[in-house]
Amino acid sequence: MNQQSDFTAALFDPNTSVSAALKTWNGSDPARRFDVYRNNVLSALIEALADTFPVTQQLVGKRFFRAMARAFAGAHPPRSPVMSDYGDAFPAFIERFSPAGSVPYLADVARLEYFRVRAYHAPDADPLDAKALASHLADSERLPMLRASLHPSATLLQSRFAAISIWAAHQGNGELAHIDIRQPEQALVIRPALAVDVVPLDSGSWHFAAALQRGENLGAALESVTATVARFDPVASLGRLIQAGLITSLQPAPECQR
């Protein structure tokens, strides 16, 4: 007997019915009552997506968003009972969703929103403090050899569009009308303490952070970015990344990897 299989299939497909297995005290059509479960399941998934992606919803309007979320929920129902993770595949779904094609930056705004939720629930860690930093500075010869551990909540986001400014405009920062949507942007999403920050980064800072994330030591990261990014300002970049809490510790790379 696969009653729960049939029930599950009918929850997502309004054209199938499990009415034959159901009864009601007054002989009324059980399909109407089954719709309560359909509604519960679908509306809870749509609400969960609307909670995680509020700016994505504002950008396309509630009606469009809900219909798109409904299509996503049918194709990608949750695989885990922990709903805070739900929606990681939504940005990629949006990217392929042709009715949203007129809003090319929508998927990247959704990525930014998902990274914020992920950062919110990520493991806690203390950013590098002034004392530890000062002790490394006392031995500046060795600085290029140091490798950085990055904050576990940190995600680097790169968009071909002005997705970060568009998101920020919905937080009351800047005006949509003044944004050139074709301007590529980068940001760091991070939760150094209890609040999630979205830190816009210039191209050099982004590439420097990406090099650290790849495991390059400070010297190698500095050299590779200086070589590829024009007008790279290491003082401003590293200062900003440290201030954002990106680096949790600096330590020498293992001997064999120097």
């Binding site: 009653q3 729960q4 009552r33 009972p81 805070s84």
Partner: protein
């Protein structure tokens, strides 16, 4: 068929866990984290949904730690899939076990329902066909959970909207059988009784009286929404987005007479009002709890 050894943690009072106080508690919502920490209201206990705290770090754990240090805590699972046809998700059970080890709550409860199938989580409490096969399955799953968590769990009676042709038992007979076989306790959701009885044309007083009073470890009170079925008969929805209804307060009074003063939760999951509004509802429950205690003394 599982052999039942009746481990000591299944006897109430020797569980190694302090019981929740016979007071009124409220659902802990993130919207109220700061207000609770800052105003420290005189609330009997707080209850959280386990799945919301199965995350690595961040504000949820920050605040739960602080609040748990000051208040008794109940952890209420919504994703264990006790009634599922598939095997329990062992990874999920392990994560819940670690959460309980971390916070040592006074109580852990789950639902008489299913919520996952074939690896898909449906995020709802779905109804069961009450027959022998379902009874065996539910009891096996409860055994598995109680053995892993090393504690007696409470199982909540559901709100349902449909009944199954294949059912051979009433819901109350089914629940009584689960409790007798598995040794778990009952989380008596008075709102669910009212909703279910209205939806299936049953007498809520009779439903209540046919449940084993001494197994009740906690009571839930919540609000419902009103709809109609295809024949125009009332169909109540367990929406948790409104104050407790008058009829449910009346039924709560009967429940207290039936089971004595039991820790009682004001559950709210939608249209979350400011903390003092929920606290006022908790105080209303606490008045009835106190009256019950005094009547008995």
């Amino acid at each position: 068929m599982t052999i039942h050894l009746s481990p000591s943690y299944l006897s109430p009072g020797v569980s190694g866990h302090t019981a929740l106080p016979a007071r009124a508690g409220i659902s802990l919502k993130p919207e109220h984290f700061r207000a609770i920490v800052e105003t420290r209201p005189d609330v009997g206990f707080f209850e959280v949904h386990a799945e919301n705290y199965l995350v690595d770090g961040g504000p949820y754990h920050h605040y739960l730690r602080r609040i748990r240090d000051d208040y008794p805590l109940s952890v209420h699972g919504v994703g264990m899939n006790i009634g599922g046809e598939c095997e329990l998700d062992i990874g999920h059970l392990e994560r819940v076990a670690r959460l309980l080890e971390r916070y040592q709550p006074e109580s852990f409860s789950e639902h008489l329902a299913w919520s996952s199938h074939g690896g898909v989580f449906l995020n709802d409490l779905l109804p069961l066909a009450y027959d022998q096969a379902t009874l065996d399955r539910v009891c096996d799953h409860i055994d598995q959970v109680q053995n892993r968590l090393k504690r007696r769990i409470l199982l909540e009676n559901p709100s349902t909207y449909v009944e199954f042709e294949q059912a051979t038992m009433t819901e109350t007979d089914f629940i009584a059988a689960v409790i007798a076989r598995s040794g778990c306790g009952l989380l008596l959701d008075v709102n669910n009784i009212y909703v279910t009885c209205t939806n299936h044309h049953l007498d809520p007083q009779a439903y209540l009286q046919s449940l084993p009073a001494t197994s009740v470890g906690e009571i839930h009170l919540a609000g419902f929404a009103r709809e109609q079925d295809a024949a125009g008969a009332p169909l109540l929805i367990d929406s948790h987005d409104a104050p407790v209804a008058e009829a449910v307060w009346t039924l709560y009074q009967t429940a207290l007479e039936h089971c004595g003063a039991v820790p009682t939760l004001i559950e709210r999951d939608g249209n979350i009002p400011p903390l003092p509004v929920l606290h006022a509802e908790a105080k209303q429950a606490e008045k009835l709890l106190q009256a019950q205690t005094e009547n008995h003394a």
